[in-house]
């Protein structure tokens, strides 16, 4: 502690040398464009036309003017659903799989490798292949449902407003489940064996072991995965865009903030030109929401972490 305190002195050359390259590249090519976005959010600017200063007008428009506010809250709702459902079908299932694979299971390594594989795939490939799989007429999903006598469940998954968003969330989870799974698995493997042995000698059930030992001890990983999921789902764009297009078809039932932003900023292919100023306002709101929620989350969960 003493030595550390001693080190706290004016910034030295080597520190500058170490930090400056990353700082410059990051500031110039990430932060600066963002700050410009903040500035742009105060203008009405259709890109090719003049820039008109409107103050906070874009934000007022976003929250109070139809149809923008409807579309915004509709998209926000879908992002929240995206997050909640992903927590269950991706992270909870990933946790269960991690607990299973942490036990002595034959071929555990193979399962891990296979489950993680989609993480390495391009989203274009994933979205495209699953659109094919979910096709109502010849898609494999409906064929399987019919083959096992559940034909009544077969439906146009991506065309039905009740199922389209869920279908996309599942496809997204399909791609990313390997990530939480392996993060949790590594954390579980990091827990000293004595904890489990002691519990089992005491006759604790699997559920109890999971509930009172595994989960509390891997809480930091769970927090981390939750926040990453939150950031990821709030910024979801590619998967919706690839599978349902820029309008979040059918009729906005899969529209998320990402597609809403893209549409307002750049317009649709044939329609209105889009408004870069208004789009920037959407981007700013998205960023602030993610920032505030993640930060609060971290603050709260830090207090509950268990040390061992």
């Amino acid at each position: 502690m003493n030595l550390k305190a001693k080190q706290k002195r004016p910034v030295q050359t080597h520190i500058v040398v170490f930090i400056i390259p990353a700082l410059i590249i990051y500031t110039v090519f990430v932060v600066y464009p963002f700050l410009v976005s903040f500035r742009l959010s105060l203008y009405d600017w259709k890109g090719l036309g003049p820039m008109i200063y409107v103050g906070l007008g874009n934000f007022v428009k976003l929250f109070t003017k139809e149809p923008f506010n409807q579309q915004f809250f509709n998209a926000l709702k879908h992002n929240i659903i995206f997050f909640v459902v992903t927590m269950v079908v991706q992270n909870l299932v990933g946790l269960v799989l991690a607990i299973i694979l942490s036990r002595r299971i034959k071929g555990s390594a193979v399962f891990q490798a296979v489950y993680f594989l989609p993480v390495t795939l391009s989203l274009v490939v994933v979205g495209y292949l699953w659109t094919l799989m979910l096709n109502p007429m010849w898609g494999t999903v409906n064929l399987i449902l019919r083959a096992v006598g559940l034909g009544s469940l077969a439906r146009p998954w991506l065309g039905d407003p009740h199922t389209a968003l869920l279908a996309i969330i599942f496809v997204n989870a399909w791609q990313w489940i390997g990530f939480p799974l392996l993060v949790f698995l590594a954390s579980i493997q990091g827990i000293p064996d004595e904890f489990f042995e002691a519990a089992r000698i005491d006759g604790a059930s699997e559920w109890h072991v999971a509930r009172y030992i595994t989960v509390p001890l891997i809480l930091p990983s769970i927090t981390m995965v939750t926040i990453m999921t939150f950031i990821g789902t709030m910024n979801a764009f590619d998967i919706v865009y690839t599978m349902e297009g820029i309008l979040g078809s059918p009729f906005f039932s899969t529209d998320v903030l990402g597609t809403f932003f893209y549409r307002t900023a750049f317009g649709t292919v044939w329609g209105t030109p889009g408004n870069l100023g208004f789009g920037s306002a959407v981007a700013v709101v998205m960023f602030l929401m993610v920032l505030i929620v993640s930060y609060t989350w971290l603050r709260i969960t830090r207090k509950h972490e268990v040390q061992y």
Partner: protein, 279 residues
């Protein structure tokens, strides 16, 4: 106890069936992609899920040479390798400084870098484009490399700082007593110790950079500079799409990462999880 183990063995079988079934949902779509990549366009239309009746290898030769996939591949490799390398160099040194020295503004800088985790580059694309234009970098590899490097720095700094922090301080003190300067401590002593984290960062960014198509879409207009994912979009027409070439293209775009993954899945997984867990 007897009772429980019998249930256990039955449950075990059910469990394996479930695990294998889920594994199949992952392998099957890729298998379909592979099958369709050697069918003719007509056959894909007629039977999108069947095994190929004959092998139309010329899909690949078309995609490879006529659709200049070989050039795209070269571009992708170059851009990805250089970006990943740059990220490793600048982020590891920055993370080292942030983790090992106490100085005014340390926490601020750390949070400053971290806030980038929440900035999807897409949201800032317009100013970024104008910036590239002003720097005269549009339609160059540099525009891609700088953007990828910059957007990867937050994650890399986040992971690497965690790792550097976890290293025992004694190493550093010992080195300093031996007369090492700070650069050597970083390069010769500390850096080798965080290799797993470097692997994490490298692999993570490799996958992201390799698969990205948005950045080149906006910055690259010359065909000879396109990367693989962007080149792939050549196959999507306004109204018509050549499915056979598209599937061959998708397969070729997937293969490099897939092959690397098959050979180094341990490293991929180890690297990734190690980073996230420590974080």
């Amino acid at each position: 106890m007897v009772n429980r183990s019998r249930v256990g063995s039955l449950g075990r079988i059910a469990l394996y069936i479930l695990l294998v079934a889920y594994g199949l949902t992952i392998v099957y779509p890729l298998f379909i992609m592979l099958c369709n990549s050697v069918k003719t366009g007509q056959e894909i239309f007629a039977n999108p899920f069947s095994l190929p009746s004959s092998f139309a290898w010329d899909n690949y030769s078309y995609v490879w040479s006529v659709a200049s996939f070989n050039a795209y591949l070269k571009n992708s490799v170059f851009v990805t390798v250089v970006s990943v390398f740059l990220v490793l160099v600048v982020s590891s040194s920055a993370a080292f400084a942030l983790a090992r020295y106490r100085f005014t503004g340390n926490t601020f800088l750390y949070l400053f870098f971290l806030s980038g985790l929440m900035l999807p580059i897409r949201l800032g694309i317009i100013p970024l484009f104008v910036l590239m234009k002003n720097l005269n970098l549009l339609d160059t590899y540099a525009s891609l490399i700088l953007t990828y490097t910059a957007s990867a720095i937050p994650f890399a700094v986040f992971i690497l700082t965690g790792f550097f922090k976890a290293l025992p301080k004694e190493l550093e003190y010992a080195a300093r007593i031996d007369g090492c300067n700070e650069y050597r401590i970083y390069y010769q002593i500390m850096l080798p110790l965080v290799r797993p984290a470097l692997a994490t960062v490298a692999i993570f960014n490799f996958v992201q950079t390799w698969n990205d198509f948005f950045i080149p879409l906006v910055f690259i207009s010359s065909d000879h500079l396109k990367t693989v994912p962007l080149g792939m979009t050549n196959f999507f027409g306004q109204y018509q799409t050549d499915w056979n070439y598209l599937f061959a293209g998708l397969t070729l775009a997937t293969l490099p990462t897939l092959i690397m993954y098959l050979f180094m899945s341990k490293q991929f997984i180890k690297g990734l999880t190690a980073g996230a867990v420590k974080g």
